[in-house]
Amino acid sequence: MVDTYKPMDVFDSMTECTFILKPPSQQSQKQMQQPQKKSRAKGAAGRRSSLAVGREDSADRDISANGGFVPLLQGKEPIESMELRRQLFADMWTPLERLLSDTEKKVNNEGVTEVCNFVAASYTRVETAEKGQLASPFAEIATAVVFSGVNTGDHSNLFQSLQDQLYKNDHYVVLLESQYCTSLPNMLKSMLDQVAAGLGVGASGGSKGRAGGGSGTGFKGIPYDMSLLQVWWDEASPRKDSRIVVILQDFEGFGPLVVDDFIRIATNYCKDVPIVVVFGLATSYECVHQSLTKASISMLNVERFNLQRSKQCIDTVIRSVFVESASMLSFGAEAYKSLLDQFLLYSFSITGFVKKLKFAIMDFFYAQPLSVLSAMISRLDQGGSDTAFSIGECPIRLCQEQIELIRMQRSVQRFFDKKVETDGDDGRKYAVKALVDDDFLQDSVLPEMLRHLASYRQSYSLGISMVQAIQDTMPESQRKPLRTLHYYGISQLFDEGSHWKTLSAAIRRMKVPEMVLLLKSLDSIVSAAGSLDLLYVESSGTDIVSLLQQARELVADPDQTLKDEGYGEGKTFPDAPSKRIRTRTDMDNRPFLLFDNSSTDQELRALDIICGYIESILRACLSPYQNVPLYEVFYYRHSFLLDTTFSAQPRAAVQTALGKSQYYVDCDCCNGSSAPGDSDQDDEADERIMPSMNDTSIAYRLHQECRRMINLYDWYSAFASVVEQESAFMPKAPSQSEIQARFVRASEEMRFLGFIKSTQRKTDHVVRLTWGH
């Protein structure tokens, strides 16, 4: 019996599983080249016709036009604006990408250098031992065990930079991955290929050597053997301090026997050929002991290196990207948390972090019609430490919809309200004009708002630096890494966050000399920040510079300053009794005063005032970003998008589609007749299996009522009893064979999706594989 299956379309076939479509120009060439292959030519003809169909199809919209960018605002966005977004994305991402990879390299550099030094120093010791009287009877292979952390995704970058660095030092480097080294011959072949490819290749030949490694382009017919390596080494006679470094990038992935055998072979040659082995370990040193035999471990001269630096790396990235804001785009609290959680709770993978960051930036420029505003802000490129922004003109005129969108932002409305409050009539006029006059909004109001934003960002970064300076005086256990500080900074109010409270307690515990030091470091932070635009902080009534100045004076001469400012002894301090512990609050906040007799009352008073100053500075700097106009645009909020794109839950999606179809198909027919308001009834309606539902959905819901074993016939009967009710809304009830066919289809789909599997334990039974909803 030949199956009389008729293909659905041109890409469906009972015999072919691969179809190759080519752009029209190349395709015609292909036709000329291969007319002899009959069946393919036929297929290609079919494909061509399909392509023609495809063309017509895509005529309405070419998806690749403008690099995939489409006009937003229901298509009303002008083309220039769209082009600008596209341009801005490229302008922003390219330097950022470079910055990120540079950061990663820089952070890894230290460890890489250590390993390089080890490689250079290896075997010299052995040689001196040989010259001496007691040469070791066993040759030991110099081995570096590199702990590279659980973030296996980043390892290729790490080892790539290690490889490049070793190349620079004139060593021969072989980078082996377990997937190409399933057996000893494979491993030797891969290794010798790379050695040969690396011959005469300079510092940058790494990736090419690797690409050639697994590609089977090696010398055919030659037995790959270590003796070949020795011969080659003798002939090549490289510099005396060159080594052959064999890096096993993912040691855990290698077969234990393969590595074991390799070590035994290499031991025989390591007197003549200086082989250095590097094991990349993601887990722990135990792994080496577990996979290698004692005999082969004894042949290794092991030194350990720690290259797990992804946390430092991420802190550096967060500083340069979010805190010191290389760009205007920052992350709102939720999106930042999603980004950070992915890193901290999942894999410590920098690649994953960067990926999410990139996607967020893509989304920002692709889907946010106001992202064009970021063209107005540029950073003055005057060295790294300068954090000043300059606000320029927008290169395009905003369209009506964009202007309206700006006016609709809550933060902008609050900005106008505040204007009215503070400036009275002038403010009112200003607000009215901004709401009516589009040009005025774009030319004067927008720059002002953006200046607020830029100023806020500067003071925020200043605030975080200050917090770090204060943290440095605290014990190690109370310090928080920058990534966490930033999260607190954007998510918590200064007066509420628990870490901020610890911080104030720490300053309040300080004595005069410590305070002098702290003030000095705070001062240097402020002056290092360079030309600060403190508009935002000043608008809240805090003058950082003068407060710091006052604090300095106070601490230098507490008596004098207090008197100068009109505080007399005791009189002007109604709440300053002579005892050290004056109030219960003091007892709570400053219990150390019980033991502290070194400070005078005046000093304590001065310290108290200074603490107040510092707190108010921090409070102003770390005020929530929600107060800043246009924060809705520049603080990325779509954490849900990031989660669904990178932490997708395919199983939940399928179960929702089948079990709660209304999330996807918002139909009237399947929701039962209950009133929408009544939640109890809604729940019941959820449970009810309606004949109008999708067949597989019915089968799925029925199967949820079953235990582990499902009798197919009974399942069918239940299915049929539901489907038969279709006659209520269909012209005719389905026939028995139709129900049967539909049931077969539904159960096949269930099996295809992995909800059930067939079993031999009982005739016509299937086993249920999932539980819960």
């Binding site: 015999t15 190759i20 479509l21 066919a741």
Partner: protein, 553 residues
């Protein structure tokens, strides 16, 4: 009644006597199962007589319960070990009253059938004297007048016993056997019986109560499904199924169209993501191949696009890579493993001197059965900046096939593409649930995997013949579509000769047995022509056979 027992078919007689032998060997090897000799060997009168004599002796020993010596003597003649004697004593004491009665009735002859069989049962399961107790108990059950029914019951029980013997092992002491007995029989015996028989043992040190709990949990509750089978339904072939389903109207047509249009709006965004270096993976319920293919057709306007049907049951990934190399990259005649080919393609698209700027690879069901082991190679392809991967997954546990370094290489961006489309194409290769005489390519592979090398070669000869024939048919008939209607067949004699020439079979008998195996699995079908000659063929077309042959290597 005894007549009933003896009127059994010879096979049954043989069976029971075999069992006696087995019992003997067991006696020789296993301690604690000794009294086994008292058996239902009464099928042969002489033996039955001898057994009865022994039973008499045993019961005498039972009566004289305080005379351990005599009981030991009786048992000693049966080569019993001391330990089981103890067990024997113990249980006999417990079930003494009834035990005596049982042995008494057995001496009376006529009813020996049932009683002795009861003992036989006890023989297998318990050691020592608990057989006496069991014998008596069985007697109460065997008061059912219909002998044949009792026999059936007995047969079932015998099978149970065999299993128990396997499970039990040597170290099971006689009294612990008694405890197990309660567990085994707890389901079909009256409570009183169990209580009487076992007393403290069920909850004593030997048979822990929790074992019973779990046994109950798994045996009684686990199989509450009914015994209905699909044979109650009329048979429905796959082709009929398809034709019926083609006419079934779609539910929620309007809503699903809206859903689809929403998905289609994202095409540009997906293109942007691809251009930014992400690879896309689509999940969600419903066949996604129509949407993805539509996207792929658009993508193919600019760059070469490869569409791979990962759900295809005999997908040969190596061949796919070779085709990519020859048709897209332009490398002819490539060899090597899948990993080699993948890194060759990767290397090409990383090099600066390439002619083809970039390539799209669309993989429907990257979690498909034939692709599961090639994920590493796919990850190598995906990690190239100039190769973009678009894949769909359907199995709910599919993400488990990737480890973290693979995930990094794949650089996926996930998208929900729930379509509610039926998986018509994806499941078209399954035969599940339908009555069908044909066997799919996957089935053939499955059968072949369990066969010897010789048998595989026997299959290969026919397959190669068919491929050659169909190519000739193609050339000869051209557009007539003859190949679709009639399979090329091979005459039986020619087939045999070909196999013999290759030293695959030495005689026609072996050839027949090979052929029978294939025929049983519906891999090979045969047909008698009008003149009586036999023709054989594999019910698959040439291309499918080709892929099967390749994946056999």
């Amino acid at each position: 009644m005894s007549g009933d027992g003896e009127n059994h078919t010879p096979r049954r007689a043989l069976y029971t006597s075999n069992r006696v032998d087995m019992g003997l060997t067991l006696t020789a090897t296993k301690r604690g199962r000794k009294t086994l000799l008292i058996d239902n060997s009464h099928n042969t009168p002489t033996r039955a007589g001898a057994d009865i004599a022994e039973i008499l002796k045993l019961s005498a020993a039972v009566d004289a319960e305080d005379k351990e010596n005599s009981s030991e003597e009786a048992v000693g003649r049966l080569n019993l070990a001391g330990q089981s004697v103890y067990g024997f004593q113990k249980s006999v004491t417990r079930g003494r009253g009834r035990g005596r009665k049982a042995s008494g009735s057995s001496t009376r002859g006529g009813v020996a059938n049932k009683v002795a069989r009861g003992r036989g049962r006890g023989r297998g399961r318990r050691g020592g004297g608990s057989s006496a107790a069991a014998g008596s108990r069985r007697k109460t059950m065997s008061s059912v007048p219909d002998g044949s029914r009792g026999d059936e019951y007995e047969e079932d029980e015998d099978e149970d016993e065999d299993e128990d013997e396997e499970d039990g092992g040597d170290n099971r002491a006689a009294d612990s056997d008694a405890a197990n007995d309660s567990q085994d029989d707890g389901e079909n015996e009256s409570l009183a019986d169990g209580m009487l028989d076992l007393g403290e043992d069920a909850y004593g040190n030997n048979g822990p109560a929790y074992e019973r709990y779990f046994q109950d949990l798994h045996t009684t509750r686990g199989s509450k499904t009914s015994d209905n089978t699909l044979s109650k339904l009329p048979p429905l072939s796959q082709a009929e199924c398809r034709s019926i389903l083609a006419k079934v109207p779609t539910k929620h047509k309007n809503e699903l169209e809206l859903l689809e249009s929403l998905h289609r709006k994202q095409f540009s965004q997906w293109f942007f993501e691809l251009a930014c270096g992400f690879n896309l993976v689509f999940y969600g319920y419903g066949s996604k191949r129509r949407m993805i293919n539509s996207l792929a057709t658009r993508l193919s306007a600019k760059s070469p696009t490869v569409i791979v049907n990962g759900y295809f049951p005999t997908l040969n990934f190596k061949q796919t890579l070779e085709r990519i190399l020859s048709e897209v990259v332009g490398f002819g005649d490539t060899t090597g493993s899948v990993a080699d080919l993948a890194s060759l393609i990767h290397g090409y698209f990383e090099s600066d001197t390439r002619e083809v700027d970039n390539m799209y690879i669309v993989i429907h069901n990257i979690d498909g059965p034939c692709l599961r082991k090639h994920q590493a190679a796919l990850a190598v392809l995906a990690s190239s900046k100039n190769i973009s991967l678009l894949a769909s997954i359907d199995h709910i546990e599919a993400p488990l096939i990737w480890d973290s370094s693979m995930i990094t290489r794949f650089n996926w961006a996930w998208h929900d593409l729930t379509t509610f489309d039926p998986y018509t194409v994806e499941t078209s290769y399954e035969n599940y649930g339908t009555e069908s005489t044909e066997i799919g390519p996957r089935g053939v592979l499955h059968v072949l995997a369990s066969l010897t090398e010789n048998a595989k070669n026997v299959f290969r000869i026919l397959a190669e013949y068919q491929i050659a024939e169909s190519v000739m048919d193609d050339d000869a008939a051209g557009a007539q579509k003859k190949s679709g209607s009639k399979m090329p067949e091979m005459p039986y004699n020619g087939y045999f000769a070909a196999c013999r020439d290759q030293f695959l079979v030495s005689s026609e008998l072996t050839f027949r047995s090979q052929l029978t195996e294939f025929r049983d699995h519906k891999v090979i079908q045969s047909r008698h022509a009008t003149d009586g000659t036999e023709f054989v063929h594999i019910p698959l077309d040439a291309a499918t056979l080709g892929t099967i042959l390749e994946s056999m290597d």
